[in-house]
């Protein structure tokens, strides 16, 4: 088992066009670092310093990780992580 990470169109240049990739780690930060080893450049688009970039939203099983623990959010095998750019609603 691994953690599925869904990638938005705008970041698929880093995943050879793949809509979803798999990774492992016990926190979101570790998961992103693991992805970076196979998809170089991705981490820099998601993370700035020790936080997520302003216009990047990451959801763990549909819940915004900023309200869980940010990059330190615990992740588990079988979880689904979704990355989306922040856009206007309303």
């Amino acid at each position: 088992m691994a953690i599925e990470v869904r990638i938005p169109t705008i970041l698929r240049q880093y995943t050879d066009g793949a809509k979803a990739v798999e990774g492992s780690g016990s926190t979101l930060a570790e998961l992103i670092s693991d992805l970076e080893t196979r998809h170089p450049g991705l981490k820099d688009r998601l993370v700035e310093g020790d936080a997520l970039r302003r216009f990047v939203n990451v959801y763990l099983n549909d819940e915004d990780v900023r309200f869980l623990g940010g990059l330190q959010t615990t992740v588990d095998d079988g979880d689904a992580v979704t990355v989306l750019p922040a856009v206007a609603g309303g």
Binding site: I10, R54, D62, D64, L68, T82, P85, A88
Partner: protein
């Protein structure tokens, strides 16, 4: 109830229990029926408030033109207010919205300028800002950054909820301009210790997130994450399923964004039940289902209905 005019009848909407969807007598769901506003949506509150604030501070004077980027409901509400108050109104709306929205806007006298589907409301905001720069005499009320938007909910929706449901433990609403959540959230947090404020954010198809680069992302100026307890992303399938569930189990005919809100509220209810916590969860019914009939949301097979929403701004 008697009012001097239609504009005076905005707000004071009913709060109804959802006995069949509530999981137990200790974990109850309540729906605030915002479709009972004059143009049929929650947006009548911020629209009227923004117009009246602009009149009060002198930005908006008789005969002037209002400009607004809108995916529908705010524009429709502003068009009604503009018609009654004698303003011209131009709405910038993404082309991937249901045809009923354009019909309603025109019905109330708005002129529509369509923005490209790709990029969704982001594009509408960008185009409206360009038009505002070209027409300095037009007044853009700008729902994403106008404090009057959140304030209308702080002053009306919040107090109404607390009056009708003093035992409220959770408030769940949609996250678009963030006005409802910021206004009601602040009001409740000041008065109800431990109240939880939960956002349901619609997750659209890929077309809507079609930015050229991440720096073009958008976070409404009104948004303050510290008001929220948490935030859920809800996709079209769950939103459709819950919209139908609300209709079949409670008889409430709501729009698709309400389905997304109900989905988040049901998740909260399930969590409270599991943890053995008492909960009175209030959620917003943003609008009725009328504007979405042509999307097939209510009568198509669920898979087909989901496909039909692909690329559409359904909330």
């Amino acid at each position: 109830m008697r009012y001097d005019s239609l504009l005076d009848s905005v707000g004071r909407t009913p709060l109804v229990g959802l006995p069949r969807l509530s999981p137990s007598p200790d974990v109850r769901l309540w729906a605030k029926l915002e479709d009972r506003n004059p143009t049929g949506s929650v947006k009548d509150r911020p629209a009227l408030a923004m117009v009246e604030r602009a009149e009060a501070d002198g930005t908006l004077k008789p005969g002037m033109t209002i400009l607004e980027p809108t995916s529908g409901n705010t524009g429709i509400a502003l068009a009604m207010a503009a018609k009654l108050k004698g303003y011209r109104i131009v709405c910038v709306m993404p082309e991937n919205t249901s045809p009923e929205r354009a019909q309603l806007l025109r019905m109330w006298g708005a002129e529509i300028s369509f923005s490209p589907a790709a990029g969704g409301s982001n594009e509408a905001v960008r185009v409206a800002k360009l038009m505002a720069a070209e027409h300095p005499d037009w007044v853009m009320l700008y729902q994403y950054g106008n404090p009057g938007n959140a304030l209308s909910h702080y002053e009306t929706t919040g107090p109404e909820l607390l009056e009708d449901l003093p035992e409220i433990t959770h408030f769940v609403a949609g996250l678009g301009t963030t006005g409802t959540l910021m206004g009601v959230g602040r009001f409740l947090r000041e008065r109800v210790p431990g109240v939880e404020i939960v956002a349901a954010e619609p997750r659209y198809g890929e077309l809507v997130y079609g930015l050229r680069n991440l720096d073009e992302g958008f976070v409404p100026e009104l948004y303050d994450a510290s008001v929220l307890t948490t935030r859920f992303s809800v996709g079209p399938r769950d939103a459709l399923r819950r919209t139908r569930e609300l209709l079949t189990s409670e008889g409430i005919f709501a729009g698709i964004s309400t389905g997304a809100i109900l989905h988040a509220a049901m998740g909260v209810a399930k969590r409270c039940l599991k943890e053995g916590r008492r909960a009175d969860i209030a959620l917003i019914v943003c609008d009725g289902g009328w504007k979405y009939l042509s999307t097939g949301a209510y009568d198509m097979d669920l898979d087909e209905a989901e496909d039909a929403l692909e690329g559409q701004l359904w909330a």
